[in-house]
């Protein structure tokens, strides 16, 4: 086993994770599973886990509406969730 880590930024906080995990997993590891706010403002987190439901959408490297459950973490990734968005 190697001790290689991948470091990414989630809502301006750095987090270091093992390679091969999804962005959705890293967001949950950072302490809060919330990914987006619904059209009426309620908090949502991943639901289907397989790229269908669109609940896990986050902004990755400035590109909005990316599916965090189908994206693997990469070094230097900048993730923005709606965790602290409008309530």
């Amino acid at each position: 086993m190697t001790d290689v880590r991948v470091t990414l930024t989630i809502d301006a906080r750095n987090i270091s994770v093992v390679p091969g995990i999804t962005v959705a997993a890293a967001i949950a590891m950072a302490g809060n599973s919330i990914t987006r706010r619904s059209v009426s403002g309620t908090a949502r987190a991943p639901l289907c886990g397989m790229g269908i439901c669109q609940e896990c959408r986050v902004t990755i490297n400035g590109r909005p509406h990316q599916l965090s459950c189908q994206t693997l973490c990469a070094d230097g990734m900048q993730i923005v969730t709606a965790n602290e968005g409008v309530a």
């Binding site: 949502r44 289907c48 886990g49 189908q70 994206t71």
Partner: protein, 420 residues
């Protein structure tokens, strides 16, 4: 533009089996999948890492061939002309030209609305299993696995192996149906072995049959659920961090429909219609696996093999797999009968329960409408980014209507991918 003799959409068991069959006879094959790794849902995380020996065998056969190309993280947008698909990759868009297309788009979970199901912490059953395989942290978390079908056992076993504490497995089916299903397994001994393995892995976990989750509760995220057990007068409360709840699977038919392929009912579910060679109603388009009706990995593998062989004209070899397919089709029919939905789970949503999660449309706004189209026009139900994939399965169960048309692009697409 790239050209393939055989282009396959979906790298799960059906897609990989189709690819291997075609590749072994020299066809130039392309496989696309929207996930970062091959394997589909059941072999999620990569076929080379699975305990089912058929997965690494297929994958090794494909890796050692030089006439196959695998394109992960690639989604179909639409067909600009016959025998062409425009696909989106992480870097942009590309047009793929094919002689024959094999759709192996698999299935998704049937997720039904109940009060509290939009709370963070409530997921699908296979959903949480998939998330955990992607590294989702569940160590020490209290998880209830609920809904219906054998997938609940497989999901619970995976979650337990990831360190979750399985509070209970809650199955809506009643005991006579479960016993009947168990007896039917005598026809498929490999499934009995699988079931015994799961039972060992899950020893000590309460299995509550004839029961269902009535509602989920929590302040900001899930804290507890209310469970209805049989006809009991009072509901039980279970404390948990996650509720993984799914009511079986639904075939992914949207791409096939968008390409003009006919669909019909298979075991009471809408599935892609195919002939004995796995050919759809459209020329040059085949379909294999869960898209033709939910039946599990064994049926998917044999359908994929038949599709791959038939697509390159190896008719005699394809025919040799017909009897195995018939056997697994019978298994699929028994599965559907045993885990048919009970009436109560159709009536859990209250007027203020969200049904369409993309557009936040509640049951009270929907139940007054008479059709999917009418509801869509009046409420925006099904018009969000999932394009009715989740709420369409729910409205079918709740109101008897489902999406009546598929628009291109079949999944959310970057504008740059279309205008480039």
């Amino acid at each position: 533009m790239k050209y393939y003799d055989i282009l396959i959409v979906g790298a799960g068991p059906a897609g990989l089996a189709a690819a291997q069959a075609a590749v072994s006879h020299g066809a130039h094959v392309g496989i696309i999948d929207d996930n970062p790794l091959a394997g589909g849902q059941i072999w999620r995380g990569g076929p080379d890492l699975q305990t089912d020996a058929r997965a690494p065998q297929l994958w090794q056969a494909l890796r050692s061939a030089d006439n196959v190309e695998f394109m992960p993280q690639t989604r179909v947008m639409y067909a600009p002309q016959p025998n062409h698909l425009l696909v989106q990759t992480p870097d942009g868009a590309v047009t793929l030209h094919y002689k024959t297309l094999i759709l192996a788009t698999g299935a998704r979970e049937r997720l039904l609305p109940f009060p509290g199901w939009t709370l963070p912490g409530v997921t699908g059953a296979g959903g949480l299993q998939a998330l955990s395989k992607g590294g989702y942290p569940l160590e020490g978390k209290r998880v209830v696995v609920a809904g219906s079908g054998p997938l609940l056992l497989a999901a619970a076993a995976t979650l337990k192996s990831k360190g979750a504490q399985i509070v209970a497995i809650i199955e809506q089916a009643r005991m006579p149906a479960l016993l009947g299903f168990g007896a039917g397994l005598l026809a498929t001994p490999s499934k009995i072995r699988q079931l015994l393995q799961l039972a060992t892995q899950l020893s000590g976990v309460p299995y509550l049959h004839n029961s269902y989750v009535h509602s989920a509760h929590g302040d900001g995220s899930l804290q507890s659920i209310q469970v209805q057990r049989g006809d009991a007068r009072d509901q039980e409360t279970l404390q948990c961090d996650f509720l993984a709840c799914g009511y079986g699977l639904l075939p992914n038919v949207e791409l096939a429909q968008a390409l003009g392929c006919a669909t019909g009912k298979v075991n009471a579910q809408v599935a892609v219609t195919v002939d004995e060679w796995q050919r759809t109603s459209m020329p040059d388009i085949y379909c294999a696996g869960e898209g033709t009706g939910v039946g599990g990995v064994d049926l998917s593998l044999v359908e994929g093999r038949i599709a791959g062989l038939a697509a390159i004209g190896q008719i005699a070899q394809a025919q040799q797999a017909f009897s195995a397919r018939a056997r697994w089709q019978k298994f699929a029919a028994r599965l559907a009968r045993a885990f048919a939905l009970r009436e109560e789970v159709r009536t859990l949503a209250g007027d203020d329960t969200i049904v369409c999660r993309c557009e936040d449309v509640c049951h009270g706004e929907l139940r007054i409408h008479t059709s999917w189209r009418n509801a869509k026009l009046q409420t925006r139900c099904g018009m969000g980014p999932c394009q009715g994939r989740i709420c369409g399965g729910a409205t079918e169960v709740l109101y008897g209507w489902r999406p009546d048309a598929v628009r291109m692009p079949v999944s959310p697409t970057r504008i740059a991918s279309i205008i480039e």
